[in-house]
Symmetry: C2
Subunit: 258 residues, 2 copies
């Protein structure tokens, strides 16, 4: 099995590292600028923690970057230096394949589309992994690694991947934002959040079978102006949420007219 | 069993009517202004369809209004007239108990918090029903009806119910809107919607156990400005969605700073 070094120890690095270790890849080092994060993940992976990029071993087969996008470009030159024939991968939805260009010979993208938390184990088998590589044989190598942990490995270009990531932000991050607004509203009225769980479940379950546009319900799609106005008033102490409420309602209405 | 008349034949009326009929309530009439809707639901409930409010029988025990909120206030005086001792219920999240005042003696609210589609059968047992009544004995009568179809019957005041409904709009209608934006983005790139289903499922599953604020991931909570700008640019042909993207991202960031 190829030996792997995790560059990064955040949510994604944690779950990906665990999945790779589980199928037998030796994770020989974990790098993070934060000592605690590096050590935490290294403990889970039976690996060595480092916080100094100069301590990186240069004898691993694969280096996987799972870091904040803004840090990725700074790290690449330092990590790739002196490791000519190694395979370098990043896991970022919106970063191009080309960010390795000029710094590495064999490189690629390994983007598992999921929302990860450190403490929450996920079933990687069900997570689609979108891959891209610097050459055909590299793509095949990346595909082999990805297929060992997931049943859904899909080749996707940098350009399409950025739209995929945008869709993921809407379907996950912004959905979770809506949940958090709902949670706040309920909390203010001492209504337990779990009363809304059946509604949340059914909303999600619906789009397994029905196009989301056809699944739309509520005051905005009915253009129940009285209710929309009433609800806008209930949010008057939260101007940003009030504005978002108004814009989404209007957009649902516009979509429905089409 | 009490005999029931459904005033309205939309998504909620359909699923509620089915649930009530299933446990044995005779649904003796279905009223809708649209002949087809009235007939469709009447067929499902083995009931009579009417489109003229003057044809309403006055010998039923319970009259349940499931109509667009803006229509409810117009219908109440006409439906309640000459039916002094009958029980009148509406199913609207944001309409007050008092909209019956002066038109009926025994009345209440029967709000099942769920997203309903005509064609999609739901398990009413799991749906919380929020009730309110004009007097204590009326509340008990409403509770008995509600408990026959759901395991979660909760008394809630008009004031609190409007906040509950607001939370439901965020957790369901706006979540579904986010799904529809994601679906459009994927469709434009010929990526099948089902690749995003595992992400959608996990996002929902997470808030069963974790507070939504703690579950937040993505560029906005990391305040990855490069990515946020890049994604804003990808949406430049859709100015309303671009604006909503910007406002939600900013709000996620602000929340995270608190």
């Amino acid at each position: 099995m190829k030996s792997i070094i995790m560059v990064g120890a955040g949510n994604l690095a944690t779950q990906l590292g665990l999945a790779l270790a589980e199928v037998g890849f030796p994770i020989v080092q974990v790098f993070s600028r934060t000592k605690e994060s590096a050590q935490d993940l290294a403990n889970k992976l039976n690996s060595d923690a480092i916080t100094d990029i100069n301590s990186l071993r240069n004898d691993a087969d694969v280096y996987i970057f799972s870091v904040k996008d803004s840090v990725l470009c700074q790290l690449i030159p330092n990590v790739c230096r002196g490791k000519k024939d190694k395979l370098f991968l990043h896991t970022a939805g919106s970063m191009p394949l080309d960010c390795f260009k000029g710094f590495a010979n064999r490189y690629g993208v390994f983007y598992p589309m999921q929302t990860f938390s450190k403490s929450r184990k996920v079933n990687f088998k069900e997570i689609p992994i979108f891959i891209e590589g610097s050459a055909n044989d590299t793509v095949q190598e990346i595909r082999d690694i990805a297929s060992s942990i997931s049943d859904y490995v899909i080749s996707l270009s940098t350009n399409d991947r950025q739209y995929l990531h945008l869709a993921a932000v809407w379907a996950c991050n912004f959905v979770n934002y809506c949940y958090s607004v709902a949670a706040d509203i309920l909390e203010n009225k001492d209504i337990p959040f779990n009363v809304i769980i059946p509604l949340i479940n059914e909303t999600t379950q619906k789009v397994h079978d029905i196009n989301p546009k056809d699944a739309q319900t509520g005051p905005a799609v009915r253009w129940d102006k009285n209710i929309i106005e009433k609800q806008m008033n209930l949010m008057s102490s939260f101007p940003s949420k009030q504005a978002i409420y108004g814009m989404i309602s209007k957009d649902i209405h516009e979509q429905n007219k089409q």
